[in-house]
């Protein structure tokens, strides 16, 4: 009975507060609070949860351990072509880090922040100019976008990277709901990207080709951010966390693992091809080994 009375009192109290005057005051208060919240979120850059989802290729099984010297003494040239998805600065950064990734695995790396054809064309022009002026070029000149390495020896493997945006969308309904719910419902923006990986040997023979596709989703709003933050702190395991720098870590881990695996596969293809070419050159050694095996088979 007491509970029922208390409930009714509460009902009347709410009804009083939602009278005409109270409604205007409350509306103004909510409006100013939501505007303040929006300004705060936008200005502070917080309130966003970035989520990465591998779509295809990026989460394929990986066997290789990028901590090991998998490319000992392999001469590698990396071309990172800027495009609609990566500006030149981001391309340079990507190329530098990919170069370091393979240097750590024992490769001798040369990186270019242009596409291969542009670099080769520039090189030909440079050589023509040099021949004309009969002057020597200085080592380490960055005329073709070379960012590291001065090794003039022919390359063993060529890795070409090109990233492109395949889809971008902003869900207008979610933004209406976001505004209407005072950012409790997130406003959603997403983009999908594809990174084309082409690996050739020094002669231009195609060894491997793959496209790594992923998706980045941005949830804007205090509701989404706070809920995920709380769940991260209280419930999720470290590897399942979504807030903070998880998006960068996950994407980096996937991209670098896949690149390492693809390059290793290409290296094996290259070695098999080299072996085939050598075998085509002469098969005398195999004959003598066969004789040894025949002797072994005859042994009781």
């Amino acid at each position: 009975m007491a509970g029922a009375c208390a409930q009714r009192a509460a009902v009347w109290d709410r009804r009083w507060r939602s009278s005409a005057t109270g409604g205007v005051v409350r509306c103004m208060t909510r409006l100013s609070a939501s505007v303040g919240l929006l300004v705060g979120l936008v200005g502070g850059g917080s309130g966003c949860v970035h989520v990465y989802q591998p779509m295809s290729g990026l989460h394929d099984p990986v066997v290789i351990d990028p901590q090991q010297p998998n490319f000992q003494d392999v001469r590698l040239t990396v071309y990172c072509a800027p495009g609609d998805h990566l500006n030149p600065e981001e391309t340079r950064m990507l190329c530098r880090r990919v170069g370091t990734l393979f240097e750590n695995q024992g490769a001798v790396v040369l990186t270019y922040t242009r596409n291969r054809l542009q670099v080769e064309q520039a090189r030909e022009e440079e050589e023509a100019a040099l021949a004309a002026s009969e002057s020597e070029s200085e080592a380490g000149v960055d005329a073709t976008g070379v960012s590291r390495g001065t090794d003039e020896a022919p390359t063993d493997l060529v890795l070409e990277l090109r990233s492109r945006q395949t889809h971008a969308a902003s869900d207008p309904v979610s933004w209406v709901l976001c505004a209407g719910s005072f950012t409790l419902v997130p406003g959603v923006t997403e983009s999908s990207f594809a990174t084309d990986v082409v690996i050739r040997d020094g002669t231009g023979f195609l060894l491997a080709r793959d496209t790594l596709e992923g998706r980045l989703v941005r949830y804007f709003g205090v509701g989404s951010w706070a809920t995920n933050r709380i769940v991260d702190l209280l419930w999720r395991e470290d590897e399942d966390e979504l807030t903070g720098d998880a998006v960068n870590q996950d994407l980096s881990a996937d991209l670098y693992s896949q690149l390492s695996q693809l390059l290793f596969n290409a290296k094996m293809q290259w070695q098999v091809r080299q072996e085939g070419l050598r075998a085509a050159g002469g098969s005398g050694a195999a004959e003598s080994a066969s004789d040894a095996a025949a002797t072994g088979a005859a042994t009781p």
Binding site: V11, S163, L216, D245, N248, Q249, Y256
Partner: protein, 420 residues
């Protein structure tokens, strides 16, 4: 318990996975967070304990049971192919030489698959594939001769089989089922058991994990294309438009004050159209008109719009009930002696007398409702809803069943729907 299992899983993953975790150096824009750091920490190896192995076995069994139906479907598809285009022109003895299941799923599924193959072939004799028993064919045999000692299965060494008294020229059927990403793939080949072991027939079939099992009858096999056609026919049989007829009872909460008089329950008959967004009827919307009449008490008309969302799954089921959540709004106009309570003030004796002398009370108001509906086969529905009447939020003639986050729900309704 759940958390413990999860922790076990994580430890198992740590053993199996060779993953890297790179440390980001510079946070970039969302558009491309591609360029980041390198340093990768190798996963720490851990010891696989018995509990972890048991958990792995449990997961294997669970997945095995999930893919089993799809594997059965592939076998059915294979046998159907033999029915339509027989490998042999006359009944031919064939030894089931090998059935292999996806790596990692154990041997239990293998036995089930063998039984299913035998069952389907027995029930479809016109395939001309006669399964025969040949223990020597599948057993490992050791044969010593002048050329050496050879250890092999019987089917791999037909010369030995002939010496064991088996007929040469028989055929051996090999079946392999493998999980390849999202696809379950069945490969089959038939080899003639002659010394050269020529493969006389082979075939590869694939299905997707996201494709439901067809559950075909073993005696009336259908191709996947035919089954798909049946499914589409079932989806399309009603079209996106249905005409529901709905019986509704609305009851209003008693007022908190003793001076207020609650409206009586209202009985409504509604009909209109309901439109599904797709054949799957994941989203539906309806526009209904309603009429209510109790002699000497009240009459009413109403218009109602409602949007429903399927909660149980992404596609309406052809076999089990579907649950929808819905919200909507209605405009209701009622008149008659019993409708005097739809006022935002306490009824007085003068008002009641005036109503009797004049045209009687008449009220029009708007409502919003949320609720759940259980729909069986898209033909019969049972639903319940809560309804708020914003105009009468402060009416002393009506209480509220539920007050949540500033909204008073004064009405509870139940409905029975028949769709045509």
């Amino acid at each position: 318990m759940h958390a413990t299992m999860s922790a076990v899983w994580n430890r198992v993953r740590a053993v199996a996975r060779v993953a890297t975790r790179a440390v980001p150096a510079v946070p970039l824009a969302l558009a491309l967070a591609l360029a980041f750091a390198l340093a990768a920490q190798p996963a720490q190896a851990a010891t696989v304990e018995e509990a972890q192995l048991a958990e792995l076995e449990r997961v294997r069994a669970e997945i095995g049971s999930q893919v089993q139906l799809s594997a059965y479907d592939l076998v059915d598809e294979l046998v159907l192919g033999w029915l339509q285009d027989p490998v042999f022109q006359a009944p031919t003895p064939v030894v089931l030489a090998g059935v292999s299941v996806p790596v990692g799923l154990g041997t239990g599924m293998q036995a089930l698959l063998e039984n299913h193959i035998a069952a389907v072939l027995t029930q479809n004799p016109t395939t001309n594939v006669q399964l025969v028993h040949c223990p020597e064919c599948t057993a490992v045999v050791v044969h010593s001769g002048p050329e050496g000692t050879v250890v092999s299965r019987g089917v791999d060494n037909p010369a030995v089989l002939s010496r064991l008294g088996q007929d040469t020229g028989r055929h051996a059927l090999f079946i392999d089922v493998e999980a390849e990403g999202a696809w379950l793939v069945l490969r089959a080949r038939i080899t003639q058991l002659t010394p050269e072991l020529p493969i006389v027939w082979s075939h590869t079939l694939a299905t997707s994990a996201s494709t439901p099992a067809l559950l075909r009858q073993p005696t009336a096999l259908k191709s996947a294309a035919e089954a798909r056609e049946e499914y589409l026919d079932a989806l399309h049989d009603r079209g996106p438009l249905t005409i529901p007829v709905r019986f509704v009872i609305r009851t209003y909460d008693r007022p908190y004050t003793e001076v207020g008089i609650a409206p009586p329950p209202f009985l409504w008959l509604q009909t209109g159209v309901e439109l599904g967004s797709t054949d799957a009827r994941t989203w539906t919307s309806s526009l209904m008109m309603g009429y209510s009449f109790i002699p000497q008490a009240y009459q009413g008309v109403m218009g109602q719009v409602r949007v429903s969302r399927l909660i149980t799954g992404k596609v309406r089921s052809l076999t089990r009930p579907d649950l929808y959540g819905f919200f909507g709004g209605a405009a209701i106009s009622v008149w008659g002696p019993a409708t005097a309570s739809f006022r935002d003030e306490v009824l007085t004796a003068d008002e009641l007398i005036a109503d009797l002398e004049g045209d009687g009370p008449r009220t029009t108001f708007g409502t919003f409702q949320v609720g759940l509906e259980l729909r069986v086969g898209n033909r019969i529905g049972l639903s319940g809803f809560l309804e708020t009447i914003p105009d009468l939020t402060y009416s002393p003639n009506m209480g509220e069943y539920l007050f949540i986050a500033g909204v008073s729900f004064q009405t509870i309704g139940t409905e029975v729907t028949f769709c045509f």
